[in-house]
Symmetry: C2
Subunit: 352 residues, 2 copies
């Protein structure tokens, strides 16, 4: 074995383990919060319209049409938006722009485990502050911890994963005001919530919102996300992104998806109805399920999670077994179609 040329901290880090992606179709897949419904027909049309000789040409490096469409949706100028190769790309760009080796990032916990990976790659430290028992966050406590540790960047998944809980825009604004670093509000699941924080960028120069097409828009396979921030922040981030980080097909598909808000509303309504039924059923089996504002539920307490997860898997139902330091393993279950959830409940009830 020859000597490694990797940076020592890369050699030592573990790497992010994404949820299982079985290659065959025998599983009812409720483990990675994909949308159970296909994307808008307009997305397919828009991609079809790009499938010609223009594929030989580089995409627009700034995704101008996409930014214009996003600007129209939110009532902000296009220069507030930056598309990325999934919101992971956008989160990566943020970590590389704001956090150096030995620096500190802060996040509430339990939350999206990618923040730790991003911190590891930057050779930084991720400080965790636990959510309160009711899944709220004390803004004064969070800001004090950020100040004490000199945090260069704060992450707040809102709605949060795995809890599905949410802070209100007013609470997030309060937190942003108290922080002296930038606050990334990761709104991957905001399409399933009652409110979002995009408007905060108008008055809060340190607020950066990240979004994805993987959840609400049913486009996990296309890899598209974006961020919303003040134009001067976006201008700096552009220097760090790969020049052509989004391809012609995803930009066209994402623009079409944004333009079809009626389709989003329709699939969202179905998912929210199924989510209510799934939540009630899980609670009736003895689980404590926080009110979810996302497309999954988090099942605390109740029968032990690990054997339940295994038993479901043996019946070709895949849910996510989440293990956080200091917490019991627990299941995070994606809201599937009604038929998928019916089958889940049938098997699950037989286990408890």
């Amino acid at each position: 074995m020859p000597a490694s040329h990797f940076l020592p901290h890369i050699d030592q880090m573990a790497g992010y383990a994404p949820g299982e992606q079985p290659k065959d179709g025998v599983f009812i897949k409720l483990n990675t919060n994909e949308n159970p419904y296909p994307p808008s027909p307009r997305v397919f049309e828009a991609i079809q319209n790009q499938l010609d000789a223009r594929l030989r040409l580089y995409p627009d490096p700034m995704g101008t049409e996409f930014r214009n469409q996003a600007g129209q949706l939110f009532g902000l100028s296009a220069d507030h938006f930056l598309p990325g190769n999934g919101s992971d790309d956008v989160l990566t760009i943020l970590a590389r722009s704001f956090v150096g080796p030995g620096d500190t990032m802060i996040s509430a916990t339990p939350s999206y485990i990618l923040y730790k990976t991003l911190s590891d790659i930057q050779n930084a430290h991720l400080v965790h502050l636990p959510f309160e028992a009711d899944w709220s966050l004390d803004p004064a406590k969070f800001a004090a911890e950020a100040a004490r540790t000199g945090a260069k960047l704060a992450f707040l998944a809102n709605p949060n994963s795995p809890s599905g809980t949410v802070l209100t825009p007013a609470q997030v604004a309060d937190l942003a005001r108290r922080l002296s670093c930038s606050l990334v509000v990761d709104e991957a699941y905001a399409d399933f919530a009652d409110a979002h924080c995009v408007d905060l960028v108008r008055d809060h120069p340190n607020v950066i919102i990240t979004r994805t097409f993987s959840k609400g828009y049913g486009l996990a396979g296309l890899r598209l996300g974006y961020l919303v921030a003040r134009p001067e922040v976006v201008a700096g981030l552009i220097k760090v992104k790969d020049s052509y980080n989004c391809d012609r097909l995803s930009l066209a598909g994402g623009t079409a998806a944004l333009a079809d808000q009626a389709y989003l509303a329709e699939t969202r309504a179905k998912i929210l109805a199924t989510r209510a039924r799934l939540t009630d059923s899980a609670r009736s089996m003895g689980y404590q399920v926080p009110d979810s504002h996302a497309n999954f539920i988090w099942c605390l307490g109740g029968p032990p999670a690990t054997p339940t997860y295994e038993a479901l898997k043996s019946q070709h139902i895949l849910v996510r077994l989440m293990r956080y330091p200091g917490l019991e393993p627990a299941m995070r279950i994606t809201v599937g179609t009604d038929a998928e959830i019916d089958r889940l409940l049938e098997v699950w009830r037989g286990l408890v």
Copy 2:
């Protein structure tokens, strides 16, 4: 203006300026080395076959089918390959894995200007070693400079841009043996050369080859590239890449493109014939044109480049005006279709 939260070196860096991408179609576009021919019909078929409800599902994070196809093409096992969101993504992953703040990277010059941007983002130093007058590289001199500066990573564009010149696999192997760091052989243009260095990874643990679909395969709009390295190197790089860095459509399209080597050979032959004609014509106008092994030519000497570039642009012909420190500005001209090159030559001859 509020205080910047960017890392100081990000605030201070200039950022990479990609070649102009005019949004209308009035230009004959010979400035960013796109293939003048569309991709293989099999690519369109493969993407069409993915345009269904599966787009709601995450892609295979490892691109298994793509890696298998690449392995078959080169006679190496699949674990030697890592696909990326364009070769820029792959080059970014390499810089993040091997180069820390204050570290040194080394490259021959003039070459791909992105290496400087990658170095800037890492807060590293890029050391340049000029090519010899005949565009060769003295391996002993290069290795000595790498050792003297403690370089953590060496970049060699081969074929090189803007010169179009190439080192033989034996010369690259000699260089790799002398280096104590990893050597990235950027083969973006290797599809147009007579030889490539992929086989070197068998015996040279420090050789990493990068490839793109943007040039030879006519897929700049799809964003797909890959690297070839020893499996233990690939395993380390996987920790640094975004989990789902390639989408379903690009993986399917790229796999189909690799499978259609006959189409590649056909378009390549046309481009090489046009390249020969373009080279002869430029030389007859008084330019010194190094023998090109890529899909562009580099025009040294001859009439001043800047007014020629401007005059061509005013006639809706876009070439790339390259400015390197210590060198006269010079034009790099992509090999277009025969009709495009006929029109270029008609206008160009009228200027000199």
